[in-house]
Symmetry: C2
Subunit: 254 residues, 2 copies
Amino acid sequence: MAAPDRTKEATLNLVIDRSSPVPLYFQIAEQFRRQIEEGRLEPRTMLGNEIQLAEQLAVSRPTLRKALEELVEQGLLARRRGVGTVVVPQRLTRRVAVPSLYDDLKSAGRSPSTKVLRIRQEVAPAEVAAAFELPDGTEVISVSRLRLADGSPLAVMQNYIPTGLAGSISERDLSQRGLYEAMRTVGIEPHLVSQTVGARTVTSREARLLGLRRSAPVLVVTALAFDYAGHPVDFGMHSYRADRYSFEIRHVLQ
Amino acid sequence: MAAPDRTKEATLNLVIDRSSPVPLYFQIAEQFRRQIEEGRLEPRTMLGNEIQLAEQLAVSRPTLRKALEELVEQGLLARRRGVGTVVVPQRLTRRVAVPSLYDDLKSAGRSPSTKVLRIRQEVAPAEVAAAFELPDGTEVISVSRLRLADGSPLAVMQNYIPTGLAGSISERDLSQRGLYEAMRTVGIEPHLVSQTVGARTVTSREARLLGLRRSAPVLVVTALAFDYAGHPVDFGMHSYRADRYSFEIRHVLQ
DNA sequence: CAGTGGTCTAGACCACCAG
DNA sequence: TGGTGGTCTAGACCACTGA
């Protein structure tokens, strides 16, 4: 429970634009974030108290609090009652080079190097029909892709989408924009994704596509996505080369 | 972008206790969560608008909003401007039986069946010294454990803790309480955890401890934890049997 | 258009922590 | 004991959605 370094004090350097459509709390949070990530706000720096900060920025205390709360949730700041708000060191995010799960989801397949292997309508595998709560034998859209990084294969991606939802998704869309983005352009909005991360030995098809030997391990991600109304819109099974890929996850306790 | 089912309307059944030290917004959020998880609030049910809900519960709108925001963040509710608030289906959480990453972190090793293999002071491996920003050759506490589930081995866990922090952590503590909980009892408070999840083939030591064949895959989690002040307090490397363990991660987009 | 959530304000009181 | 964040209130105006 070591104490923060009280010798460092923050000097604010923020500008907020009240004529902008961007919410004030978001403007404030983003500028703090940038200053922390760029190192201009050093780790262990104490921020002034909320009331002073709000006064300096000429916003109300709840607005300022909302900005800080966002950064606390993301682990950039830590607050404790009776003590104050302190900047948390960012070493890890800088050091780890692999794509984070977060970025991976946000940019969901937005990678510029994706090769579409196949798009076709087929009978849903039992697991998929169950996830979609469709009767056995129902047809779905099946999408197979190969994801490349630096020109060499990184992952095999197999996705299923309920028929009717994805009628007009084209191969060109998928190779350029990623599945979720392509789905948005046809009016499907993934909102919640539930993923399972595991590992297993490659199948022979994966070994061939990924250029791996027979007993190599792959990282397996199964994802089920729902839209705002709670209807399933995608079932995905992705296998990543374990030697070239790992997830980074940051987690704030309590 | 399918529309929520407007035929279902919620009838509130909440009680709030203003004399309780538990914050109102938390009382409200917890009761909604329980009703959703127990299925008493069915998926696709529309909640009334915020102002009505606040009136019915006799709290202010910001307080009610804070309760709902928590549930939205956790993916139990979805809100859209001009539309309303709707209950999101919980199928996946019910179906998947594996411990979630979240629970795993919260209860960090609180598993009742943990076997402590070794606790000793030793020179920090280079990777660990770098993470702790200590000079090469510095000694740290090294903890080796075997985690069992239903009596059979699930994971090998190797942790390093800076010397001085963990002087009085005992073997009995660890086998009963889990590392992070044990650390809390001696005044160390992990606050932020950054994890990397990957996969590889087992080492021979792991194969022996976990009862796996030589080429079996393991799920590898590397975790670096910091306290409130940003000082590193733990470096962990855990290898899980891939055939018996996977993580579940829920993710709200945007 | 009417209804919804999204944002913002200016106060107030309380619980907790450090010295 | 003084200062901090944590909670709560009662308003207000706006942006977006759907009919």
